[in-house]
Subunit: 634 residues, 2 copies
Amino acid sequence: MPTRSTETRGPLGLSPSSRVSVAPLPRGSVRFAEDGFFGAWQALNSTTTIPHCIQQLEAAGTIDNFRRLVGESEAAFRGPLFADSDLYKVLEAVAWEIGRTGTSAYDAFADSMIDLIARAQADDGYINTWVQGGMSDQRLTALRWSHELYCLGHLVQAGIAFARATGRRDLLETAIRFVELVDRELGEGGRNDIDGHPEIETALVELWRVTGERRFLTLAERFLNERGHRTVGEDHLGYEYFQDHQPIREVTEATGHAVRQLYLATGAADLVIEQDDDELESALWRIWGSVHHQKMYVTGGLGSRHRDESFGDPYELPNDRAYSETCAAIANFMWNWRLLLRTGESRFADEMERGIYNAIAASTSISGTEFFYANPLQLREGHRSEENAPAERRSWYNCACCPPNLARLVASIDAYAATGDATGTQLHLYGGGTIAVGDATATVRTEYPWNGRVVITLDRPLETELRLRVPSWSTRLTVVVDGAEAHPAIERGYLVLPAGGVTSRIELGFDDEIVTEHPHPHIDASRGTVAIRRGPVVYCLEQADLPDDVRVQDVYLAESATFSPAPPQKGLDSPSILVRGALVRDSSRQPLYSSSPRHPVGQPERELETVGLVPYFRWGNRRQAAMRVWIPTW
Amino acid sequence: MPTRSTETRGPLGLSPSSRVSVAPLPRGSVRFAEDGFFGAWQALNSTTTIPHCIQQLEAAGTIDNFRRLVGESEAAFRGPLFADSDLYKVLEAVAWEIGRTGTSAYDAFADSMIDLIARAQADDGYINTWVQGGMSDQRLTALRWSHELYCLGHLVQAGIAFARATGRRDLLETAIRFVELVDRELGEGGRNDIDGHPEIETALVELWRVTGERRFLTLAERFLNERGHRTVGEDHLGYEYFQDHQPIREVTEATGHAVRQLYLATGAADLVIEQDDDELESALWRIWGSVHHQKMYVTGGLGSRHRDESFGDPYELPNDRAYSETCAAIANFMWNWRLLLRTGESRFADEMERGIYNAIAASTSISGTEFFYANPLQLREGHRSEENAPAERRSWYNCACCPPNLARLVASIDAYAATGDATGTQLHLYGGGTIAVGDATATVRTEYPWNGRVVITLDRPLETELRLRVPSWSTRLTVVVDGAEAHPAIERGYLVLPAGGVTSRIELGFDDEIVTEHPHPHIDASRGTVAIRRGPVVYCLEQADLPDDVRVQDVYLAESATFSPAPPQKGLDSPSILVRGALVRDSSRQPLYSSSPRHPVGQPERELETVGLVPYFRWGNRRQAAMRVWIPTW
């Protein structure tokens, strides 16, 4: 077993071959306090969301699908054909939660599920309840839609999570038995075939890291290289949907099903980390640019179309029709994490932050038990016609990929906050709590993301270098070290505090001014509007915060509008922003199209004294009504 | 047989019970000259499009589907399950074309097809090649998707067209035999069931008009009233898609599949005309308002979503993602025609005109042999990902509803141009040619829609009233009667020239200024842009008309931009508009989102000396590249 891999005890390990600029810290190096944003979210995840997921897995029949295979249930198969992955992701969440807090609350569930999965596994290692439950003649031969390797990928990740977080290896061994079967059938010398939904790739690289067995890395690379040759076969959704239209090394644009694209990119990044593959790495930079410079919502949401859950054309970013699947934002978070490790550049942490405080955080209700699948940036008055997913949170979905994905991410979010290298520690995500910085313990006190002040106290003088990310949105910065204003160097987006440079206290003041974001001129859907952001948090206008006689779609921001921080709006728990200078004009009687001489647009009819904007991630927690992130300017 | 019905000899008859303000004129009352817009289009339709359709019906297997039933083909069923309707619509086109010109060019085709259909018909009158070809156990029992009554509706319309246009009644009798079967099974006392795709309703009302048999009107009303009670059964597309979510009398908003909604509204309008049904008529005004005040593109295109081919939310009118199906614009034309007859109000003719010169005309290529199915108002550079239909014209479609629908409409467009009532004649659509005005023949000379000048000469003094539509887009108007400026009264949108008021010549000067159209403030997709219109024609900017180093998405219109009429752009046949004052700024290096202090939008980089805009209906006739109707203003 390689020594570095188990040391991380978190969602990404390293192998002796890993080439990274910065490395994950051993799990537990960062602990978020429960009164901070991340700590409170992790607590809610632990006390509410994970138990809710477990309950829903039972109610949805996901667990019965396994029980049936061992004669403990008579129920018919329920859920989509990839339902197994929901259980695996919840198990992964449980493992990370055990690793985070040492809780034994889930032990009985974990014991029984891990045992059940092992018993449901066929003698040759195969496990997939949809196929075993009645489609056995299709075993590993209908991979375009079967999701067998997708589910296996999640099983591997759950097994690894238990191994890393708790030392328990039985689930991992179950997973490995299936991987070995897959390797015999589809590995070198076997059939050329790939899964219609990428995911196995990143899991196999992690399996290499956790086991040190190179055959798993080889298999991951094989699956990656086989992709793009139209192996999945003809389908009305086309090859782009399956990420099989072009070898990834030749790809120049993010296309097709957004989650598939982003999981594939994640696996590719893992391979780049392990094998220094220049050609593949170049492709990743192209895809990254396509995503982040042309196809991403300001919330970090990804996937412009419900149809095929896909990226659209460059700059095709409709706010009302945004799909912006929760899982796509999570996948992007995981991909950017790998690129951050690879390069040590803050722009990847910036994108992780954008996603986590906006598209990802929006997915979960204040209660922790309801979830968005799609995350639109606008809900129109009179909205009635859904496409793939509703514009409201639901307690569960038939296709329940998102809630368990949230659970596993939130349970491990601390593991993404900081990294280390030979010279010290790098802090990427700010949140109240403690961080191991060499032998020192740093205590972080901050109301981040609600303002830009971060105070870090050390229990002993800094003996290794400490790097602190300067968020890209912070245009001004103050640094006070041990009481004196300081001007440390900034490298790759990080303040560099050298070993010996701090005795006990660092005070950061990021620019937390409330600003207007302007869309790129090619984003037609948002022309003539601005979004309001403070720090990493994007705000929105909800009907609930307007007078009864004013409708969201009739509100404009005057050029002279001013913004100020404010307490939470009624019914919410997070700070809001008060706007002075919001103008109203009722356009309900205006014709649909007017040639100018006849129908002047007119003047605003009134100015609202103040109107509250709420964090986008808290929208839809009151009655579901009109909402918009991008607000027209007058 | 009622006397009035056959007199029209065109696409809409009247019965003794019809209550209309103005009535269709007998076919032949209007004849368009071939050097005018409509006349040239009808000539192209006759020489090229109809023969092309016939050839494609053969190539696509649509005709073989019938032949197989009588042992004359071994081919498997081809096309969608409603393929029969393609043949019926082409037959209808042929009939109107015979009625228009007296051509015998299609006689052999018509003979053999009418004979083939009759032979394929079952003894009890049933005819549907998909069901007869292998799904006989589903006869009239799987109507949600079977389209059996939809196809029958088109068969009835084709039969009526032959009866009216040529006096030939054999196809109509074939159709009636099936209607009688349907009446026995689904009519009064029979099962309650409806077709998933409205169309039969309007056909049955026409059948009442042409035969005088009230049972057909009763059956139409029955189908209309049964709809809206979730009769079609549960489907993943939902009840709105099938127009079965709510009784039409209660409907307040246009929803669901656009063509289904509009054909249903057309049938409802027919029933209102026949039965003076206030409740139903009120519902139609609500739906009409929803369509025309909230859910219509400036081109007259309808249906904002590829997904489910549906209307979206109010003001959800994305230009790039517009579905705007050709058939929806045609259905809206037919619906507005009925409302025009009912009310005599010009606003309905305005909408017919908007559609015919823009969304409908766009569908056909200059060659007459290629057709858009979807009619987006924007094509992005780098577009690659289609949804339901491509952003380019194709010579045929597997689901080939649109080309035959165009063929039947264009072959009969003259029948929609004018109406009559007890006091005289009303002219709605202007085009060079002749019109019977009482006993007089009026000759119309005009370059309409390219400019606003229309000269009407009479071969004898006006003995009955003549009403001339003033298009809603014409804000100024000059009228010269017999050489002297005149100021006739305007009623319901029409200039009223009384009997005896004109000796020989009327000169109309409509306001043909080039104007900018502004979108309603709730149309987020078009905020900050204008569309350029002259008369009824909407223009667009195509990549082909820009310098090589300027891209469509980087062009803006200055506030001071001026517009002038110009000859056709290279490769096209229709006048263009020259813009002076188009500004260019390359935004390709600008970040996707910018907070203002850091990334000012900057100033335009250059002004184009001139740039040509081409009629929207001619876009995509050169190489397929970026296009936009709504152009951002600087």
